[in-house]
Subunit: 271 residues, 2 copies
Amino acid sequence: MRASGIGVEAVMNPGRVSIVGAGPGDPELLTLKGARLLAEADAIVCDEGVKACFPPGCAVFDVGKRAGGGASNPQAEINALLVRLASQGLHVVRLKGGDPTIFGRGGEEALHLAAHGIPCEVIPGVSAMNAASAAAGIPLTHRGLSGGLTVLGGHAPHLERIDWEALVRQGGTWVFYMAKATVGIIAARLLARGADPALHLALIESAGLPAQSVRVQTLAEASRLALPALGDGPGLVIVGPTVALHFDLHPARSELNVDALPVSGLSQAPG
Amino acid sequence: MRASGIGVEAVMNPGRVSIVGAGPGDPELLTLKGARLLAEADAIVCDEGVKACFPPGCAVFDVGKRAGGGASNPQAEINALLVRLASQGLHVVRLKGGDPTIFGRGGEEALHLAAHGIPCEVIPGVSAMNAASAAAGIPLTHRGLSGGLTVLGGHAPHLERIDWEALVRQGGTWVFYMAKATVGIIAARLLARGADPALHLALIESAGLPAQSVRVQTLAEASRLALPALGDGPGLVIVGPTVALHFDLHPARSELNVDALPVSGLSQAPG
């Protein structure tokens, strides 16, 4: 119940919000805690494409944002919806793809709830890069090859804010979220700042889902003819010395890729 | 059953190995898939401190490494154990803390199994940084504050391989795994390369566990008198502009910290 009175932001007898990372799409990659909270929830607010076992009779609000954005700011509407539901005394589960605080705007929602005096907890989830790494056989760190990783947004406006020279100097593994449409730009920027043209790049789409695809090319190949997106699912790019391990871990699959795919520029297994 | 014959590495009728990320320690942060594979396993090979529901009657091998390392290389023994068990036709679950491919050596084990012709899959898990971020109220990315993150090892030898100038130039959120004992060194290196002395650093121990602690200080404070480790659990350091959001998301807790903790140098909430 919302408190009466003009200008009063705090609520009487508030419910609470659990911001839950749903993982990368495979419903089995939800955590046990996430599954328990879903089963106990009074209301669920989820993004389009986030599927899980919702308890029967529970109110479900699909607030998926349209790809590409637009003039409206649905985040403000989502924030308001969470406050409204919790103010009715409900336990709300806000289910978000991946992990809530890596490109998930979980922090914005948590801040909004805190400012309104609504108890909130964040339950971490498996982020897309962990699922992509596991599915592709590309370790994010690996002794002797990569001692760390840098994780960046791959949308074109994100790329403008990256210090590419510092990135190349730092080395390690580079991960770009939401990078399906910018593979060629990423490769060109890295090469322009001195990255090794023989370094491998992987485009991983729909990691862990039936539509999953994993394709690898060198930076030189990607800068000439970048891998095109194959589907509508989320796409993530990994670049670095560990990408070549894909060929050792999935030898049959990479041979199949090289022989069967119509896209030129695919790399052979190194060595 | 191992194939007979001198020098033959491939095995007859091999079992398989599922390398499963157990998450950061809270058994409820295991994935549903991880829990299912554990329930189906013939044998489980786990690290010390990784606790989960093990099925009754299942053979469990605790191969936890001693902290601080030593002359022996237990990784080679673990690799050999996995091959030996799978070669007996067993379905082996190799349960690893966090996510198997971020500082987890999952890639090394997968490569060893692939070289021996043993089918292997990697099931991603919640990495320690996602749990620390959620527990501390410190988003790893946040619109307008941090558009990316760099993840590095925090053991002293790891720190020697970091290009600190490039790291500071890149900005964003900096995460150091296994950094409990090196807080002061990390702060000093960052400051020496031009990081803002008012930037906040969080030391998060035992994220998501009953012994969890979250403490924040500025880089300037940390370089003078770094936060000492409180317990034996894993410790992770996060540095960057999003760390200050901790105070907005946990106002009561941070006031308590500032008043109650004996360590000088703890920061007040900014603004």
